[in-house]
């Protein structure tokens, strides 16, 4: 039972990260029907920004808590700026083009950003400081779940709750929902669709940056390539949950995290990916639009 609990919590942590990144994929897809393959790179850039900022702040001898509080917003703002700019440069000029064109543009952007960081930084793995504080009361449970994992789960939950509320209750959220339902109609009733799309990219990138900082601090190392695998897994989570659906992305992330964790725990880590993708195939056979794909009204 203890083993089950450990695997459950491990899967929850992993799934929360997947969900945070998957939200970016699903929001963008919901609005402009584009799979933003450069999204994983935003996650990586968020982590790199945090590494640089925290390195500078650590020079001043500040305590870990305050470094995290200053680093996270900067990484989020920086990544959002990247997301905003990518949309402006790579996707907006292709707005009316066939769907394949922006997709290829997205893949190109992903390769460009990876190589840009490779050249501007380094190909080596870099140590990432443990920004997440160690809580004293978690000491006794560290065999099952440690502080950084607790932080990841709680932060992810808070961010996702905030996002859900934002989409549901704000003017911009309403505009997003309208745009996702029918772009032309939204335009006709006076929604500034360009702004809505930009905002979607900004929010998605911010979530990816939060994920990047959290997981980099948890595993303690980064390089220019981390966005690729995280991106692929998060994309899988988004499809699993139903791409275009916000609750679907959250659920998809968690389901994927648990599947991997339990497959490793009870079968073999050799088959971790086999189980994850077999589940994806199964779900897509029986529910082609994903677990929550059909639900209307939650689409963004």
């Amino acid at each position: 039972m203890e083993y089950f609990l450990e695997l459950f919590l491990g899967g929850l942590t992993r799934g929360s990260i997947y969900a945070l990144i998957a939200l970016g994929y699903t929001m963008v897809y919901g609005i402009i029907k584009l799979i933003n393959f450069a999204h994983g790179e935003i996650y990586m850039i968020g982590a790199f920004t945090a590494l640089i900022i925290s390195g500078v702040l650590a020079q001043f001898g500040l305590p870990g808590w305050s470094i995290l509080l200053m680093t996270l917003p900067i990484a989020v703002i920086y990544s959002s700026a990247y997301g905003f700019t990518i949309e402006k440069i790579a996707y907006r000029p292709l707005r009316g083009a066939p769907r394949l064109s922006p997709l290829i543009s997205a893949i190109g952007m992903s390769i460009f950003l990876q190589n840009y960081v490779l050249l501007a930084q380094t190909a080596d793995f870099l140590p990432f400081p443990a920004l997440l504080p160690e809580l004293a009361f978690m000491e006794g449970f560290s065999g099952i779940m440690n502080s950084s994992e607790l932080f990841i789960v709680l932060t992810a939950a808070a961010v996702m709750a905030g996002l859900t509320a934002y989409i549901k209750y704000t003017r911009m959220g309403k505009a997003m929902r309208a745009t996702s339902q029918n772009q032309r109609m939204a335009m006709l009733v006076g929604v500034n669709v360009d702004n809505v799309i930009s905002m979607t990219f900004v929010i998605g990138s911010a979530l990816a940056a939060v994920g990047g900082v959290l997981i980099a601090s948890h595993v303690g190392q980064i390089n220019f390539y981390i966005g690729f695998i995280a991106g692929i897994k998060a994309f899988t989570a988004a499809v699993l949950g139903g791409i275009g659906s916000v609750p679907g992305a959250m659920l998809g992330g968690l389901v994927l995290g648990w599947t991997e964790s339990f497959a490793t725990g009870y079968v073999s880590s050799d088959y971790e990916d086999v189980f994850a993708f077999a589940l994806l195939v199964l779900i897509l056979i029986f529910r082609p639009s994903g677990i929550l794909g059909k639900e209307e009204g939650h689409k963004v």
């Binding site: 491990g10 899967g11 080596d124």
Partner: protein, 372 residues
């Protein structure tokens, strides 16, 4: 074309046979095939330097058996097809012995050509086990330890020195990491003193490894052997330590890298890793190093000391054999000890150098030191 090549080899071999009487008072042709251009050139070029230094040393004393040594490099770029060509050229140049090739794949492709012409080949760098263990290449020797020796060493160290009874073996599913892990597992299970309780591959680059760490914990293992490279190793070690799993972590020379310590930081402390034996204490090591610095005004590159040792071993064998006859050289290599930078060595029945191997290192205060 094939016919032409075959006849060329036949002619070359024929000339070789006739040439023996003539060449006796002539030079000893010392072939040095390997990667001298291309992206792996950094592995091959130091071996030419080593061959030249050893040849100069012998020539200054009047050569071997009264004959001068002539170094003949041949480039193969570590490509098997070019390696065969390089071997044919050396055969046609009547090479007495050859030191090379550099890469295991190229070596394997070229060996039959030398074998047909009865030329002894000694590699300073080809670690692939079947080159010697298969028994297909009786003319092949090497001054570097085999890949499987590393797995065996890791296993015996974990069992004997660390006293582990139940060992979890993890790898990164790659050729190198999985190969090491399989050798280690076989050695653990064959030891009788311990058993492997887990054998699993992890996906390189995965977001985290907490599930596999929990699995190790519940397997009741009292040590972990990991085959793979340092990025995964540091993630697994960090996850283990954070989960209060303090059992020893033993890995391979893909982990014995300063980057591992840089990334894993305090968590790297106490981690064990096997790596090429430290031979810097040997007197000849310092001699070879000084000669290289004097001649080339630079630090020697990869495999320089293995190559220097191979050149010494080959020349010594010719000298001890008192002839350039293939059978006599092979016998001398297997029976006569020779002092080299990698230690005092002779070769076993399959052609591996005895006394050359790996050592176990441990991270202590941020550096790898030899483990006791």
């Amino acid at each position: 074309m094939i016919k032409k090549l075959t006849s060329a080899v036949a002619v070359a071999a024929g000339i070789g046979l006739i040439g023996i009487g003539v060449a006796q008072a002539d030079e000893i042709v010392f072939g040095v095939p390997g990667a001298h251009t291309g992206d792996l050139a950094s592995y091959g070029l130091p071996t030419i330097n080593a061959a030249k230094l050893v040849a100069d040393k012998y020539n200054a004393k009047g050569g071997v058996l009264g004959r001068m040594i002539k170094v003949v490099p041949q480039d193969d770029q570590c490509k098997p097809e070019l390696a065969v060509n390089a071997a044919m050229k050396l055969v046609s140049e009547e090479a007495t012995v050859a030191m090379g090739h550099i890469c295991s794949g190229a070596t394997k492709a070229a060996l039959p050509v030398y074998g047909d012409s009865k030329i002894v080949v000694m590699s300073p760098s080809a670690t692939n086990p079947p080159l010697t263990t298969s028994g297909d290449y009786p003319n092949f020797f090497r001054t570097i330890a085999r890949d499987d020796a590393q797995g065996q060493l890791a296993a015996s160290f974990t069992i004997e020195k660390l006293g582990a009874k139940k060992i979890a073996v993890i790898h990164d599913k790659g050729d190198y990491g999985k190969g090491f892990a399989e050798f280690a597992k076989a050695a653990v299970d064959g030891s009788g003193a311990a058993t492997s309780v887990l054998f699993e591959g992890v996906t390189p680059g995965a977001v985290d490894y907490s599930a596999v760490v929990q699995k190790v914990k519940h397997s009741g293992a009292d040590a972990v052997i990991f085959g793979g490279y340092h990025p995964e190793a540091s993630k697994i070690v960090m996850a283990m330590r954070k989960k209060n799993l303090k059992i020893p972590f033993v890995s391979d020379d893909g982990v014995k890298d300063p980057t591992f310590i840089k990334v894993a930081g305090v968590f790297a402390e106490g981690v064990f890793a096997t790596g090429p034996q430290d031979s810097s204490g040997n007197p000849l090591y310092a001699v070879a190093l000084a000669e290289h610095k004097k001649a080339f005004n630079a630090e020697p590159g990869a495999f320089f000391f293995n190559a220097y040792s191979a050149a010494l071993a080959l020349m010594n064998a010719i000298e001890k054999a008192g002839s350039t006859d293939y059978d006599k050289i092979v016998k001398a290599l297997k029976t006569e000890y020779v002092e080299t930078p990698v230690g005092k060595i002779k070769f076993d029945s399959i052609g591996d150098a005895e006394g050359v191997g790996f050592d176990v290192y441990m991270v202590a205060n941020g550096v790898f030191v030899q483990a006791e």
